[in-house]
Amino acid sequence: MTETDPGAGSDLRGTDARDGDGADASAPPAGDDDALVEVRGLRKYYYEDDTLIDRLLRREPTSIQAVDGVDLDIERGETLGLVGESGCGKSTTGETLLRLRDATDGSVRFDGEDVLSMGSSELRRFRKRAQIVFQDPFSSLDPRMTVGDVIAEGLKIHDLPAADPDVAVEADVTVDGDADVEVTVDDDVDTAVESEGGVARVPVRVDATGAGATGSADGGTRADGGPTVSFGRYDDVLAAEVTPRDGGYDVHVSVGASKRTLRRERARTLLERVGLSAGQIDRYPHEFSGGQRQRVGIARALALDPEFIVLDEPVSALDVSVQAQILNLLDDLQSEYGLTYLFIAHDLSVVRHICDRVAVMYLGEVVETGTTEELFESPKHPYTEALLESVPRADTSEQGRRVETLSGDVPSPRDPPSGCRFRTRCPEVIPPAGVAVDQSTYRSVMDLRDRLRRGDFGTGVVWEAVGDPDREDTEAFKREVRAEFGLDGLTGANGDTVEDALEVLANGREREAAERLTERFESVCETEEPVLPDEPHPAACHLYDDERAAAGVDDDADPVTDPEFGGAGMAAGMETPDPEAAGGELPDGVSDPEHGVSDGDSSDADDADDHDASEDDRDGSEP
């Protein structure tokens, strides 16, 4: 969607405050003061074991770090993709930055305003400008409301339509017949007439040919004995008052319908805009197919003329043929209204298609961002590489392709790995300097060590496999573990360390065995957390430390606390939250036992639960 030009096209909003130069997809991601949304250090923790009883018993709540220090810049008019697997926190990020959930920490700036500290009236305004479309079009629509009501609900809550002082009103007058007609228009006519480029043009047709005759051809307003006045498609919502005067008429145009009718008209327009028919306005969501319901969901999000829409897996539940229709629609709407999208998805081919830039999340953190091209053509982070490698391509060349898979499952966000969160699965985890070991064997050593550390290594099972219930044949035990973990290739000091650790393990001392392995094999990936550097196409991975050090970049700079980070936006006096300072104490109101279900497993349940939970407080049902 690089052709998107936010400055062009008609503008549903009536005002066009943008300057239209922010949509350049290849603009550097960070530090651009033109970003519409700037997220810094966003955290969202859930707490388990935090019921009243737990507190009375002084049990320590377990925190689940669903989102842990996310930085994002979303430029005006662009589509930023947020990808990752279930439980990685992408949906929670989307909902938290819209304040549909309370953030634990961090800051979100929308058009320069601090979203997280907004009071209720500011929040109300924000909710008009920033909307969300959920994955499941059905569950996000109230089954007892007609689609017309669903779409108009937000307008009703905000007591819209209301006249916009920034929109000028002009009449496009056509006079049939020979009469001198003066047309005046009420200022609030923009509530009934769509505006374009800050001007609401009212089509006024005055038919003076039959003045004096009775009857009106097209239902237009007709003053007794005077000319017929009609408004084209606005006939139902505008009214004219005709005053005869010497040699002609004065025509005064005003809104001739209730707000309710105007909202309904707007809903009809929106239905047509999203590819449904206005005649379907009184149907219920269940009468529509999945793709049609998602169109309704989009119309609902558009109703308030937002500038920014979070699209949370908007096409994941749809069949591919319908999915393509919706993607094209989203594309068209973006160019037409200059929308900015945060597109949350797990489907990488969809992301490649629709996004200008992409941020990849793993276990609550952004691990890489870049333009779509950079990220897909030259991924840097081993996790991004693994994701891209895994996607099955719909092409004959895919046949029989064997994917190098990641080992294991995503760890639990209750107890994320130290250092780099991907290190428990990373095929490129970095051995310590001076330890020469083949990469895949090193991965195996780390796998064994991690299993020992987690305490779920079953020595009993090994003895059983060896067939030695008396646990005497330690040589057989060691052989078995070596074979199981593929540790046979180790020699020299590496071999000795493993030998030593296995000996200890055979004696049942798992923890000590893990320590022996750690002493020699401890990786920088577990001791130091890689940061997402402030550079174009950053990846949070130690593999790039050398490269960056060589380029003279200060390796230890914390991107959040570094005053340089954020460029002009930061320099202009944005507050910079300090995660170190905030890490110890957590703001009130973050306890959220209901959401304590996220366990980082690979089912869809986490994200699905998130969606349900957010039903209650999403915009539209706001009191």
Partner: protein, 429 residues
């Protein structure tokens, strides 16, 4: 190769490749719902060969899942298989029923649908096994994972204890019990040997600490692990034919890659034939040698992977391929298929190509039931579209809006919400 649907009493097994292990013909399944008769599967034909992965691809409402259930006879009320044959190559079974049910036997092939119900059931597990999208539909939440897999192993052991006498599998055990135990494992009749085998299987599918995990309950497993457990359970029976219905759809892509690798390894090791049912053309491309495309209950195109992906004839197949964003060579705009999934209500289906209302090339000739035609490409390539035998002729094109008098969105939603028509059909858990 087109079939005459009135051909009710075919003489013996249909022709096919000598490697076929399964030949499905004219399989027809209907759901009798309050809104009327839903034609979920409509005269489906396909063959599955020894040790191959045959793909069936389709969107919701295409009938692909009901086809799977119909092949292994798990369709539940209000659904019923109303017609069709499922010829399965199993010489022992053929020898056994040659005399009793001669119509069901042709050489080494047996038409499973004509065998007594108890025998059909006893084939489930040892002969046919199924993996579902939702592991919880085939795993009992209150029985440990290990026990459930051991259960499946036990069924296989009993079956193979006397391989020549299929009927003996059901003797002294009771048909009812066998059914219950096959579908609701965990009745506690597993032996130590089968439990040990269960642990082996868990290990084989890549579950760490299999012995310990075997003692855990399904809810203690993550989604990926559970899917593996279900693969282990399905493989426990050492089936000849494994039917995998969207086996990786609920999984993340890195886990999906693990499961697909696993399925391929196990299939190669055990020489199992796999029917891979999915909406994901990428999964089809990675896994399958031959593929059938389903639409509105019918197979509309069939052939080798190259036939279907590189030289599709049916506009639906083309549309499906044009709808997926290409990750390696992104196009600026997708070319979706207009319209929605069709209604499968018998009363609304009409005598025509079922795709005609969405087809950009619909012509007058399409307003009749379309048979399978041979198409260019390999010998296998066939399609249910007139374009295989005639050029598109603009002069004969149906005018725009030709189908608009037909019930529109109301009927579309009918098919979207009707569980019988969609893919949400209960899978017999």
């Amino acid at each position: 190769m087109s079939r005459d649907p009135t051909d009710a009493e075919p003489a013996g097994a249909p022709a096919g490749s000598p490697d076929d292990v399964l030949r499905v013909r004219n399989l027809t399944t209907r759901f009798f719902t309050e809104e009327g008769q839903v034609n979920a599967v409509e005269g489906v034909d396909f063959d599955v060969r020894d040790g191959e992965v045959f793909g069936i691809v389709g969107e919701s409402g295409s009938g692909k899942s009901v086809t799977a259930l119909s092949v292994i006879d798990l369709v539940e009320s209000p659904g019923r298989i109303t017609d069709g044959e499922v010829w399965y190559r199993e010489p022992d079974l053929a020898a056994e029923f040659e005399d009793d049910v001669p119509a069901a036997v042709d050489g080494e092939f047996v038409d499973v649908r004509r065998l007594p119900e108890g025998v059909r059931r006893s084939l489930r597990g040892p002969s046919f096994s199924m993996i579902f999208q939702d592991p919880m539909s085939s795993l009992n939440p209150s029985v440990t994972v290990g026990e459930q897999i051991a259960e499946a192993v036990e069924v296989q052991r009993r079956a193979s204890a006397n391989p020549r006498r299929t009927r003996s599998r059901t003797q002294g055990y009771g048909l009812g019990r066998l059914l219950v135990d096959t579908l609701v494992p965990g009745r506690g009749y597993t032996s130590e040997a089968s439990e040990a085998r269960a642990v082996e299987l868990l290990e084989q599918v890549g579950i760490p600490d299999p012995a310990e995990r075997a003692d855990e309950y399904p809810h203690q497993f993550s989604g990926g692990m559970l899917q593996r457990a279900m693969v282990a359970q399905a493989l426990a029976g050492e089936p000849d034919v494994l039917i995998a219905d969207e086996p990786t759809t609920a999984l993340d892509v890195t886990i999906q890659a693990q499961i697909l690798n696993l399925l391929r390894d196990l299939q190669a090791e055990q020489d199992t034939s796999v029917v891979m049912i999915t909406h994901d053309l990428g999964v089809i491309a990675r896994m399958c040698q031959r593929v059938g495309v389903m639409y509105a209950g019918q197979v509309v195109e069939r052939g080798t992977l190259a036939d279907v992906f590189d030289d599709p004839v049916h506009p639906y197949t083309e549309g499906l391929l044009g709808s997926i964003p290409d990750m390696d060579e992104p196009a600026s705009r997708l070319e979706p298929i207009e319209g929605n999934v069709p209604s499968l209500l018998d009363s609304e289906m009409g005598e025509r190509c079922y795709f005609a209302d969405r087809c950009p090339k619909a012509m007058e000739d399409c307003l009749r039931p379309i048979p399978m035609y041979d198409a260019e490409g390999s010998d296998e390539h066939e399609t249910r579209c007139v374009l295989a035998v005639e050029e598109y002729d603009e002069a004969a094109a149906l005018p725009d809006g030709y189908f608009e008098s037909e019930p529109d969105s109301a009927s579309e939603s009918g098919s979207a919400d009707d569980p019988a028509a969609g893919e949400e059909v209960s899978t017999g858990d």
